[in-house]
Each structure stands twice: as C-alpha cells, then as structure tokens.
C-alpha cells in the first residue's frame, strides 16, 4: 500500500496510468495491423529516452542535447551482437573473409576488430546495452557536474558529443558500417525476429519494459530523491548546504537516463532491424527533447505520449505535406516552449486543477451550510496525521 502511494500520489494519477496501460497493451495491439503496431513499438522505444529526459530535464533542470548518444550506444551494442549472429561463416561464404560482417569485408578488413569480439556473447551484449551508456554518462556527468557545469554549457557540450559520435561512426565504415549503419539483422539466438509472431512478442517486451521503467521513474519522482532533485533545480545552494552531494545526485540521474536510453536503443534495433548514425547525432537527440517537451517534461506518461503523438503526426503529415512539416514542427515546438512549457500533460493537468478547484468550492459551500460536521471532519483529519507518518 505504501509502495502504491509512493507511485501514485492521487487517484487521478493511478487512473491515467491504468488508461495508458490499457491503451498501449490492449487497445493498440487489437486495433492496429502488425505493420502499424511495429511502428508504435519503434516510437515507444523513444519513450525510454523521454522517461530519462523527464527525470533529467523536467525534474533536475539539466538539458542534455546528447541523449541520442546513449540511445545509439545501446542500439549499436544490440546491433553488433545481432550482426555477428547473422554473419556466420556459412551465410557469408561468398565474402573474401567469411564469418565477419559484410561491411567489413567490403572495406577489406580481414579480421574481426578486437572491440567486436565480446559482442559474440549475448550476456555481454545485453549487459552492455545499458551498462556502457551508463558508464559513459557517469564519466561525463562526474567530470562536468563536479565542476559545476550546467545549464546552457551542459547542453552545448552534450550536443558536441552527439556530433562527435555520429561523425565518428560515419567516418569509420569498416568498423561500424558507416553511414548505412548495421543492417540485415536476422535472428536473436536462433529466433527469427522478422516474423509477425516475433514482432508481437518484441512489442509486448517493449511495452513491459517501458511500463517498468515508467514505474521506476514515478517511484523516484515521489521519493525524497525526487524532492531533492526539484529542490536542486530551484535552490541549488540550499541543497548543497543541507549536506547533499549535488554533483553525485546529478551524475546519478544522468547515468540513469543514459541507461534507460540505451535500453530504448536496443529495443529499437530488435523491432526495426537496423541501427545507423542518423539515430545518434544532433537532430535525433534534439527531437527526443521535442517529444518530451510536447508531451510534458514533468510527466512520465505525458512524455511517452509525446513520442507517440509527434511521431504519428510526423508520419501522417509529412507524407501528405512534406514541405509544411518542418514549419509545423518548428512552430509547434516554439509554441510549446513559449506558451505550454509543461506540454500536453500540463494542459490536461490545468483543466484537472480547474475541476478540483470547482469541487473544493462546492465542499466549501457545504461546510458553510453544515459547520458542525466539518469541525468533526477536521478533528478526524488531525487525528490521522500521526497515522500517515507511520512507515
């Protein structure tokens, strides 16, 4: 019960979460053909990044324009494993060097590079999916937050890192597959991931992990740690002089957001079947910030919905009016940032607060009519305080 309270502060929150679960786990799979559902799965894998951004940007006030880096790292870890599995000596027998990925062969590489070796192991690859992004984020975060780098500086430096990684992958075709990325992924431990059945399974795996991550984020937000994050955002010095290690807290959130992004990247690869530097660089990184901003930077569910809405909007709109799409995207983004900084979730919340205000007005009137009863209620409420304080 206590745990449930930590996750959902109000009944409304619990209900909206339940509606969201019903939407992505029941309604969409029943309503959409597998091709469309696969697309939803792809968008939901961006949702992992969005959850990380809610913690990092919404709650902690740190804007990273390099989340694509971690999404990409997670994705590449998974793609490298799948590519090695797809490049067994039999199916690559026409190559000069059979048994290595095709793009290496095209680039006259005759031996698997050392850093590819460990990705033959599924255990290693699936751990690396979130541990590698987490570790790199930890190092970057530790170096920067310890030196009090934040705000605009942090945004610019993370953006530069996104550029470096995407250029680096792009420029080393023999080792990374270059601009085309890693393609032609077929099986996972012998299980063909391209069949309809596998796509359903992977969709539900993605939904399950996404919901688990969302609950984890909601838990974090509602614990003391969540309050410390908000406090750090608004009154950094006070938090520091209350004995908290501000740099460590920020580094932790940054690393956690990176790990979630890496997981999202891996699920993207499993569902979509390829990974390329176009998902790593500046533009995808900032687009993920857009999804989060449109959905609501403070709300976990809002941010995931933001990913779905913007991407479906993009698919639908850019097919019909490719020229107007960038206008719409830029315009929406400016409007959201300027007028609705809390995004869709904020708009919905406001209408909720309005309702709540109306209803308190109603109960206030009732109290005036029945003063005796309300006094009774008040004393009951006072008596309840120590109870709620109990663990």
């Amino acid at each position: 019960m206590i745990f449930f309270r930590t996750l959902f502060k109000t009944k409304g929150e619990a209900i909206s979460f339940a509606v969201f679960v019903a939407l992505i786990a029941i309604i969409l799979p029943l309503a959409l053909p597998i091709f469309r559902l696969n697309l939803v799965g792809k968008y939901l894998s961006y949702g992992f990044v969005a959850i990380g951004l809610v913690l990092l940007w919404g709650r902690c006030g740190i804007l990273s324009l390099g989340q694509g880096v971690f999404f990409g790292l997670g994705g590449y870890c998974m793609a490298m494993f799948l590519k090695l599995e797809a490049s067994d000596p039999v199916s690559t027998s026409i190559q000069t060097t059979p048994g290595i990925p095709d793009f290496m062969d095209w680039n006259q590489i005759t031996q698997l590079p050392w850093f590819w070796e460990p990705f033959k192991s599924f255990t290693f690859a699936s751990c690396a999916v979130f541990l590698l992004p987490g570790l790199i984020a930890f190092i970057i975060g530790w170096a920067m937050f310890r030196r009090r780098v934040g705000g605009v500086y942090f945004a610019i430096i993370t953006q530069a890192i996104a550029l470096i990684l995407s250029l680096g992958i792009d420029g080393n075709q023999g080792f990374t597959g270059g601009r085309n990325g890693i393609t032609d992924l077929k099986t996972l431990l012998g299980w063909d991931i391209r069949t309809t059945g596998a796509q359903y399974t992977l969709y539900f795996l993605c939904v399950f992990l996404l919901l688990a991550s969302a609950l984890l984020a909601k838990y974090i937000i509602n614990t003391r740690f969540g309050r410390v994050l908000m406090a750090m955002r608004d009154r950094e010095d006070r938090v520091r002089f209350s004995g908290y290690d501000v740099a460590m807290c920020r580094t932790f959130v940054f690393a956690l957001a990176a790990m979630l992004s890496g997981l999202g990247g891996a699920l993207f690869v499993l569902q979509v079947g390829f990974m390329s530097p176009s998902l790593v660089g500046i533009i995808p990184s900032i687009e993920m910030v857009i999804f989060t901003a449109v959905g609501g930077r403070l709300s976990v569910i809002g941010a995931i919905l933001g990913c779905l809405i913007v991407n479906f909007g993009k698919t639908a709109f850019s097919e019909a009016y490719p020229d107007a799409w960038l206008y719409l995207m830029g315009g929406t983004f400016i409007a959201v940032v300027m007028f609705f900084p809390d995004g869709l979730a904020g708009i919905l919340d406001k209408s909720g607060t309005l309702k709540a205000k109306l209803s308190t007005l109603g109960t206030g009137l009732m109290k005036k009519l029945k003063p005796a009863e309300s006094a009774e209620k008040a004393s009951a409420a006072v008596a309840e305080i120590p109870k709620t304080a109990e663990p």
Binding site: L63, L326, G331, F333
Partner: protein, 344 residues
Amino acid sequence: MQGAAETLFFLSAPLSFCSARPSGALTLPHIQLSPPMESYSWEDLQNIFLMQGFAGISLFSVLLLMGLGLAVIFGQMGVINMAHGEFMALGAYTVYLCSTLTAEYAPSFGPYYFVVAIFIAFIVCALVGAAVEWLMIRRLYHRPLDTLLATWGLSLIMQQTFRSTFGAREVTPTLPEWLMGSYSPKEGLDIPINGMFVLGLAIAVSFALLLFMYKSSFGLRLRATVQNRKMSGAVGINTNSVDRLAFALGCGIAGIAGAAFTTIGSTGPDSGSRYIVDAFLVVVFGGAASLMGSLASAFGIAQAQSILEFFLEGTKGKVATLLVIVVALMIRPQGLFPSKVRAH
C-alpha cells in the same frame, strides 16, 4: 576552404576505392587519403602546413564572425541562439540575391556589388534578429534553456523557408573578378585571395565591434547591463532595448559571416547548421563572452581542423579536434579566458 586541400590530395594521388555493394544501398566511397608521413619531403610538409594554414584561415574567419555574433548575444543575455547558423545562411542568401539582382539590372556594378552586399546582409539579418527578439526571446527571459529550444524551432522554420524560396540545391553568388585567383609568392604555394579578403573582413569586424563596445554610449550601456542588470535598469537604461539591439547586432554579425562564407563555399538551406556546433565551441572554449577568447579559440579550432583534415581521412580531423575541445572543456569548463567577475 577546400580548394587548396583538394589540389594537394590530387597531387598526392589518392587511392580511392568504391565498394561494390550487393544490397544496392547508398554508400560513401571509402577513400584512403593519407599516405604515411614519411612519404612527404620536408619541403612538401612545409607547403602543406602553409597551405592548410591558409585554408584554415578562411575557416577561422567564418568561425570568428559566427563566434563574435554568438558571444555578443550570449554575453548580454546568457542565451544561446540555436538559429545562429540560419542567420549566417540568411546573410549568404542575401548576398546571392544581391548578386542575381546586380547581374539582372546593373551588370556594370558587378565588380563592386559585393561590398555593398555585405552591408545589406548585415542590415537584413539585424532586422530579422530584432524581430525575433521582440516576438520570441524577450518573452523567454530567465529561461535560457527554453530559449535555446525555441530558437531551434526557429532554425527549422528558417531552413524550410530557404528551401521553399531558393530550392534545396546549393547556390553561389557570382563573385567579382578581384576576389578570384590566388597569389603565389613561390612555386608550389598558392595563397587564395578570397581567404585573405575574408580574413581582412573578420579582423575589421572584430575591431569595429571592440570600438563599438568600448567607445560608444550603446556599448557602455550594454556592458553595464551585463554587469548589473537591475542597477542598470534603476539608473535609467532601458535594458529591454539594449537586449534587442544586442540580439540584432549579434544576428547582423552572423549575416556578415554569411557574406564571408559565400566566398569560400556554396550556400544551401542547411549550410548554417553545419557550422553551428563549431561556433558554439568557439564561444564556450574561448571563455564566455570574451572577445579575445573567441579569437584565440576560433583560430585554434580552425587551424587544428584544417591541418588534421589533411593527414587524417574524411571527418576524422574534425572528430579529433572536437574531441580534444570537449575533453578540455570537461577539465577546464571556464574556457581559455574566463571572465573575472566575482561569482555570486
């Protein structure tokens, strides 16, 4: 800026290798550019360094002009303008437009139009900048991260506008004769004249900016606002109009950067976005809002990129330069020339 580099690549007979791909997907031909260092004679190396150095000077000039504009805005308002690259492109397109119009209506003016076009580019960008400040930036005051995101939205819109107006293909204004060609003090060494011109332009703008900041009354008001906004407001400085002018000035300088850019490359809708990260790093690495810092870091970044580009294949030179800067910034976040104001 690539001109000199390409000639030399040609001389050193690059081994190019196009991969035959069965999948039919688009691939970049893999180019082996760099023979080992030993294969160059000392004479060659000297010329390479000189020539890449001069090629770097063009890049340096553009980065410096971009960086100065950004630094003015960042120093004044603590705001990063993500659409700064698009303002540069706007300047470049303005020059292109001037060139087309001159060719159409006043061909005899051809040799001189470029100088006038630089001023027009400055004015156009400054006006658009002032409008953007009025419509957007001032409403986001105290929210620097949101300003960054909103200006990114603006950059999308500007890019699409360029694409709709001028097409997706890159355009080049007709440059006057006197800007073409190169000066060869000795054999094997060509110094492009456009590079020298752009360098002169960048230096002139830097000096003008310094004079403006330290000698004009507006510069005084601007510096006062940077140091103490509340107090400046209290002594009767209209900080809102100072902000607007500073933003317009920064965008105007980006316009000049665009004009400079047309002499060394062709302009496409996304030309600006290719330079934006470098320009940010120039400002941040130089130390916030320090003009000297911007100068030093623009020079360092441009030269490192230009010289490394020759010895490392493809984009590796750029990757190496950026990597060094990012690591340096992690160790020394205040940059080369930190501001010496007591921190609060």
